[in-house]
């Protein structure tokens, strides 16, 4: 029994590897079960190298956020300057130009809640449909999605602008939210997750019990999709939070800017005749922009763990 499981299951997912390889090579006697492995210092050290790579630039950001404009110019980037101005910088970031940073922060939140939330919802619905239903045109859907995504976006910006302008959407929040609603990658992930995570038998059972399609989706499918949902929500949130190019084309009114555009506008003041150079506020603002995302990640992580415990997945 044991050999049949080990050989058939991986092969079911990888027919080309051939069934003959599997069992013959399973000879080692180590007993590290996947659930209770021994910790490895070597592995931790190797992973730490990558950690250093990812974190060093962020440390620069944190150190720089403690400096005044003069301090930034006079001190080396790798260590603190004599004046510690983090709190002053944060205060100035929130009050500069009549506190427009707060407005940009709220805009970004609005775009994330409606854009990323909506994108996740559409991806769940679509992924569920692709995984669990057969319908006319199903095969074409993803081919078209991949094909469309392959066309460079910068060239589509002007046509999109002209269309949105005719619809009266430019310079409104909708011009940012509507394009954010589409996450091709999210759709794909949900498709995979739904295929794996929802046993068709469960859906059958619900239908036999007389549940309609909508109730089956909400009561049976949705809870099982929780880990995938969290992953997709995380990706769409980050994508919306960092959205830059399309809002740049669509929005002129600074009152509707997301944070990225706002920071970019502050940054470009240093390249403007008579402009006010506020590199310290750009850096502090950047740091403040990242913090909510870290918070969101930590928050979502909790659901992730509970979602994983919901069954049909390991641990």
């Amino acid at each position: 029994m044991s050999s049949s499981v080990t050989t058939t299951s991986p092969d079911a997912a990888a027919p080309a590897t051939g069934g003959s390889k599997g069992a013959a090579r399973l000879r080692t006697r180590k007993q590290h079960t996947p659930g209770r492995p021994k910790r490895s210092i070597l592995l931790t050290a190797l992973t730490s190298l990558v950690l250093i790579y990812t974190v060093v630039p962020l440390i620069w950001l944190v150190i720089s956020a403690t400096k005044t404009q003069t301090g930034l110019a006079n001190s080396s980037g790798v260590w603190f300057s004599s004046d510690f101005a983090l709190w002053q910088n944060i205060h100035d970031t929130f009050t500069y130009h009549d506190g427009i940073f707060v407005r940009w922060l709220l805009n970004t939140l609005l775009y994330v809640v409606l854009g990323a939330g909506g994108a996740t919802l559409l991806a769940i619905l679509g992924g569920y449909a692709l995984a669990k239903f057969t319908f006319p045109g199903k095969r074409a859907v993803f081919a078209v999605v991949i094909g469309a995504v392959a066309v460079p976006g910068t060239a589509l910006a002007v046509p999109t602008f002209l269309m949105f302008s005719k619809m009266g959407l430019t310079d409104t929040p909708w011009a940012v939210i509507i394009p954010s609603l589409v996450s091709p990658f999210g759709l794909y992930l949900m498709w995979v997750f739904a295929t794996e995570a929802i046993p068709t038998e469960l859906m059958e059972a619900a239908r036999i019990d007389g549940a309609g399609e909508i109730r089956t989706f909400f009561q049976v499918a949705l809870p099982l999709l929780a880990p995938g949902t969290v992953t997709v929500l995380l990706f769409t949130t980050v994508a919306t939070w960092n959205n830059y190019f399309l809002p740049l084309i669509m929005l002129k009114d600074p009152n509707w800017y997301p944070l990225t555009l706002g920071l970019d506008a502050w940054n470009s003041q240093a390249q403007t005749i008579g402009g006010d150079v506020v590199t310290n506020l750009v850096i502090t603002g950047s740091l403040l922009t990242i913090i909510p995302l870290i918070a969101a990640f930590l928050l979502l992580q909790k659901y992730w763990q509970s979602g994983l415990a919901a069954g049909s997945v390991k641990e």
């Binding site: 002209l162 302008s165 002129k252 240093a270 005749i273 008579g274």
Partner: protein
């Protein structure tokens, strides 16, 4: 596979047809070529009636001007959208004009970009509003840039007569004389760099605006524009003067390869490793805000000359306020532009540090004797005003200068990072500009 593509093609065809319909509806003929004069009475009536004027301009001093204007005409509201400058500003403006929707009533347009918009009928002629009668108020350089024959496409807002800013502390430290000619400049560059290998006389990593201004001062006139007939030629005597001199600096690696307007640039200006900066008279405001740590170190001096005693100067930067053709409330919009760039607004802006294009302010004793704390109390404006009066005439930019400037570093840039010579770089810039001009339907001569 076949079924899939078939559907895809059908879907796209359908959408294209929809899009086609949409554009067909959108293109309406605008034959409203109203060159009828607008009387002062019309404008006054409009001001009394009131309304809103949408202004896209990044010039920081306009904030106060707009507030004062609203105080003077309480029924008029100025909606100033100020967050974007340069390329991003023009992108938004071009997109709005293309969509025929959301076009501002007033837009800031730099001198080099004006002809592109006026040529494609994107801007209103301001002569019927009386702008043609304001010519005497402005210095010749800016007026030349905004006018085309008897048409006026904007009112000059500021100007950038060039001067040389230099770090006096560094020159004093190494006891080097401040150069007055470009030959002396090269010598000073060598001495400075020898005295301290970290110090460069200037930074230059290739900048279209700087190069064209240098050519301008050297007497080169690479662009000739006559309606839709243009020519591009970087091989005249003036251009040779510039390339011969500048090639020396590049060959001996005497200019720092830092790009302008970057963090490193501000740092270099602050710590003495960039010893001079030859640029427009608007620079002091940027020194104060971007290089506070070097306050007192810097001074202004006239731009070095090509032959000793020659006072010829050039413009660098500067912009106008213009009325896009598709904007609304023309009378109100013009009233605001005139107030800001010819009326009381000019003084407000000068008081806040802008450099004017108007003769009255440039000759005002209070302006000329203003002491700049940043420059150790120097009365720098007298140097700038002198430069403004000596800007060489007849310069013109291409009607597609924005594009030409965008490919400067693709072509001339090679001279800064490889063994290619400046003359060869300029030649390939010339070729690329001519190619583009031909593609856009201009009649281009070499």
């Amino acid at each position: 596979m076949r079924r899939t593509t078939g559907r895809l093609v059908r879907g796209i065809t359908l959408l294209s047809v929809l899009a086609l319909g949409a554009t067909a509806c959108g293109s309406s003929d605008d034959s409203s070529d109203d060159s009828k004069p607008v009387s002062a009475g019309d404008i006054t009536a409009a001001l009394e009636k009131g309304g809103t004027v949408n202004v896209w301009a990044w010039e920081p001093t306009l904030k106060s001007v707009a507030a004062n204007f609203e105080k003077k005409y309480p029924k008029v509201k100025i909606n100033l959208v100020a967050e974007r400058s340069g390329d991003k500003h023009y992108t938004a403006l071009s997109n709005a004009i293309a969509a025929k929707k959301g076009v501002p009533d007033v837009a800031q347009v730099e001198y080099f970009a004006l002809s592109q918009y006026s040529l494609t009928k994107g801007l209103s002629d301001l002569a019927p509003y009386g702008a043609d009668k304001l010519k005497a108020q402005y210095t010749p350089g800016p007026w030349n840039a905004v006018s085309d024959g008897d048409k006026v496409y904007g009112l000059p807002m500021d100007s950038g007569p060039m001067a040389m800013f230099y770090n006096k502390k560094i020159f004093d430290k190494y006891k080097i004389a401040v150069p007055t000619t470009w030959d002396e400049y090269v010598t000073a560059a060598e001495k400075l760099h020898k005295a301290d290998p970290k110090v460069y006389i200037a930074n230059d990593a290739g900048d279209a605006g700087f190069t064209t201004s240098m050519l301008w001062q050297a007497g080169s006139r690479p662009y000739k524009v006559d309606g839709t007939k243009v020519s591009v030629n970087f091989e005249d005597a003036g251009a040779k003067k510039y390339t011969d001199t500048w090639q020396k600096l590049l060959d001996k690696k005497l200019v720092s390869p830092i790009n302008g307007w970057t963090d490193d640039w501000y740092k270099g200006l602050g710590d003495g490793t960039i010893a001079t900066l030859t640029t427009g008279a608007w620079m002091p405001a940027n020194f104060v805000s971007g290089v506070p740590q070097a306050s007192g170190d810097w001074r202004a001096a006239p731009m070095p000359a090509w032959t000793k005693g020659d006072k010829a100067s050039a413009e660098n930067g500067g912009s106008s306020l213009a009325l896009p053709e598709l904007g609304k409330n023309k009378e109100l919009a013009y009233a605001f532009v005139e107030y800001a760039n010819s009326g009381d607004g000019v003084q407000t802006r000068v008081d806040e540090g802008a450099f004017p294009a108007t003769v009255k302010q440039l000759q005002d004793p209070a302006f000329l004797s203003k002491k700049f704390d940043y420059f150790g109390g120097q009365e720098a404006n007298s140097i700038f005003a002198d430069s403004a009066a000596n800007v060489a005439s007849d310069w013109s930019y291409l009607p597609f200068q924005q594009y030409a400037n965008s490919i400067f570093n693709d072509t001339v840039g090679k001279a800064y990072v490889s063994s290619e010579k400046l003359t060869a770089g300029l030649k390939s810039w010339q070729d690329a500009s001519i190619k583009y001009g031909n593609e856009q339907g201009f009649t281009v001569e070499q």
